[in-house]
Subunit: 451 residues, 2 copies
């Protein structure tokens, strides 16, 4: 019995179902066996899968049928609007799944060719044979220890394992409660949304290749009474900025505030290495965030928050109420991958590959989109942050590209308030770099037509 041939039969029957009349009878198992050249066991496996999905109905002794069409009365659900009250900011954008026939330069996730897929499959297979019981709410102790050792100065007990760094962010913002929060502008849209939903009042601080201006940060702390500042000092999303956070940490300390250091791109250094300020803090002012999801595998939703003192306990309490604990299988597999010798080799080849892709994209921009300003050549990360000529209608450029089969991300969603100009984020970690020059030409054309 082969999984593949059963999946093939499932697909064939689904195609047939798409045009079949409600109540119609399926061919018998014998007929399907003959038609697909498969064993009865394989055919029955396919039928079971379809039955499980409610797509067909087996009537024992009679046959298998297309379900009689159910009348789906949507009903009047207008009452829900009154019951629900005002709406939060909507969610959309870069999570969109791209169809196969477009060039996807919009996503925040690296293409699968940039991931250690063989290590991940082997690790998952080993994890399936290992301990599959529940782990403590703070995580698998050995994975906690690994994250702590990565930072050098942390203890395993400071580490809270999360199902990805987005979950870490939401818990951090909830633990800090609804207070004014300093936040870089532009910055990661997922952080903006998470902070807003936690009730925080966002105080945008302009940021650039050298990070935010310390004087502005000090003034904002003093004026707003904020007790936290969310920063990405290492290969920031979207700007790629890489800067030393030492001075900003001193300012946060002077104001009795937390510095939330999001090190999501730790494994994506190209010309530099991420050098977390959390490793130099022994005062509990830094709340550090790291993820393995993007660099190891989207299947391994594993990240970590490292924090010291009461704030760590509050974050853990929030995580516990939120998910109780993270799947131990994912934690074991993640630990397995990052402690293999193959992981270091992968990181080295990833660095070379990211450099080649970044430089190809930069070359393409110089050649095919001369009106675009690359705000800075990023020393790491996955993205270029492009400023379009003043007055460009970003949304129209994005739509014009999409019409030509090229997905790019309009910059607006990375700004906590008004955008400081027309920006686009371009990912050089998507699929098929050979399509970069052509896609950038499409972008360049769309821009030149909108000026």
């Amino acid at each position: 019995m082969s999984d593949d041939s059963s999946a093939r039969i499932v697909r064939a029957i689904k195609d047939w179902l798409a045009t079949a009349a409600p109540g119609a009878r399926l061919p018998t198992t014998r007929e399907l066996t003959a038609r697909h050249g498969a064993s009865p066991v394989t055919v029955q496996k396919a039928l079971r899968a379809l039955t499980g999905q409610g797509l067909i109905e087996a009537r024992p002794g009679v046959g298998t049928f297309v379900p009689a069409s159910r009348v789906n009365r949507p009903g009047d659900r207008g009452w829900q609007i009154a019951a629900l009250g005002p709406m939060d900011s909507p969610v959309d954008g870069t999570l969109r799944m791209a169809p196969n026939d477009v060039v996807a330069l919009h996503s925040g996730y690296p293409d699968r060719t940039l991931l250690p897929e063989r290590l991940v499959r082997a690790a998952l297979t080993r994890a399936a044979r290992g301990d599959i019981s529940r782990t403590p709410p703070a995580g698998h102790p050995e994975l906690q220890a690994w994250f702590a050792a990565q930072l050098g100065t942390a203890a395993a007990a400071d580490v809270v394992i999360t199902p990805g760094s987005q979950s870490g962010l939401t818990s951090i913002f909830r633990a800090l409660k609804s207070r004014p929060l300093l936040i870089e502008s532009p910055t990661y849209w997922g952080a903006i949304l998470a902070a807003r939903r936690a009730g925080a009042e966002l105080v945008p601080i302009a940021t650039g290749p050298n990070g935010p201006d310390p004087d502005q940060v000090a003034r904002a702390f003093a004026e707003t009474g904020a007790r936290a500042f969310y920063v990405q000092p290492h290969f920031a999303n979207p700007t790629g900025a890489h800067w030393d956070a030492g001075r900003i940490l001193e300012i946060a300390q002077a104001h009795g505030a937390f510095l939330i250091e999001d090190d999501w791109a730790h494994d994506f250094g190209i010309d530099a290495d991420a050098n977390p300020i959390a490793a130099r803090d022994d005062t509990g002012h830094v709340i550090y965030l790291r993820s393995l999801t993007k660099s190891v595998s989207p299947a391994l939703r594993v990240g970590a928050v490292i924090a010291r003192g009461p704030v760590r306990d509050r974050i853990l309490a929030d995580r516990t109420v939120e998910t109780l604990y993270v799947s131990g299988v994912l934690q074991s597999a993640a630990l397995d991958v990052v402690t293999q010798p193959g992981w270091q080799a992968h990181l080295r080849s990833l660095r070379r590959e990211l450099r080649a892709r970044r430089d190809l994209m930069l070359d393409s921009l110089r050649t095919h989109a001369p009106d675009v300003e690359v705000t800075a050549v990023p020393a790491g990360g996955l993205h270029l942050w492009l400023r379009l000529p003043d007055g460009t209608d970003v949304e129209r450029v994005v739509r014009a590209c999409e019409d030509e089969g090229v997905l790019v991300a309009g910059g607006t969603m990375w700004f906590p308030s008004e955008p400081s100009g027309p920006y686009v984020r371009l990912t050089y970690s998507g699929p098929d770099p050979s399509a970069f020059p052509g896609a950038v030409r499409t972008l360049g054309k769309a821009i030149s037509q909108r000026i």
Copy 2:
């Protein structure tokens, strides 16, 4: 090279490290090879694992060492209290991991002998070979379809996959915003905490073996303006109550309110089957919650929220901000398990096993703890809800049992406000039923000494 012998060496070195001086040198690889009768490759694998955890330091060409002890200045973190503000309700209790030498009658999770471990390992192994890419935020479409088909009337698009039902609960409560929320009393402590943290004002409704009194529910809706009621009509945690929610749904509909139907124990029917009211609702008033974590595996953190209309979109938006998406490997493995023929066979044997354990626990109570009142013989679920004689100090009973190596859960945490009496929850799904009679004797003794 064997994983087992490498793990054995890791354990041995950890034991040695527990008493080793900071800076001490480890035996050479050659010595370790001889001592443990293992290959150099296996020894090096063990050393790599320990290095990865920061427990030892390799100095190439010199040797391997215990790290020099770092001075861990905890520093003054009192400033954090001011930065953090008031504290939410704390979290603790039934998540506690029991050591091996106690009888654990406190946990909310079934023992591993009650889980389809073979099916789960095989499914995880297959999932490791399959698609390990990112899934859409609402989940794997085939798993959505399976959950929808389970309910009969739902469409796949109504389903939002969550990393366990606790995450579904927190998103539901956040989507409903901070309004008065009707909630059974007693009810699942995780729901109480999640609702409180979402800012809801809890309105407790007394509940018993036949569910809440419809007149009280109608009055509470009218008086408080609540727009939702959280209920467990099927084998409730902690009471085991099993009741028809038809009348309560009508009342919710009449008040333009949601009924949140938590069907966590769907797979744990003993004398009855869970019969979700969500299957009979076509008006979008029921928000339905189901989990596979407890019945399939704690490693497969997979659950589903099924809802229709704008509320479904708001729940999905919250899930997206919270975790972006759920690991596709866990979703594939969960779907694989529940569509195997072995899954139905497992559920049948689980039912027999739960019945035998429940009845053994009831017999033990009659014999060894005659002062205890079993509030109702549950028709399903994992727990007995016991009322102790009036005036019993529950916390002292719990501690007295723990001193004798028996863990039971005091009932207070299941009440959204004052407890209606001295209660204890006893799990009949924990490890080793042969220990039940002795453990119940310990409980009976502890109670008779406290009256």
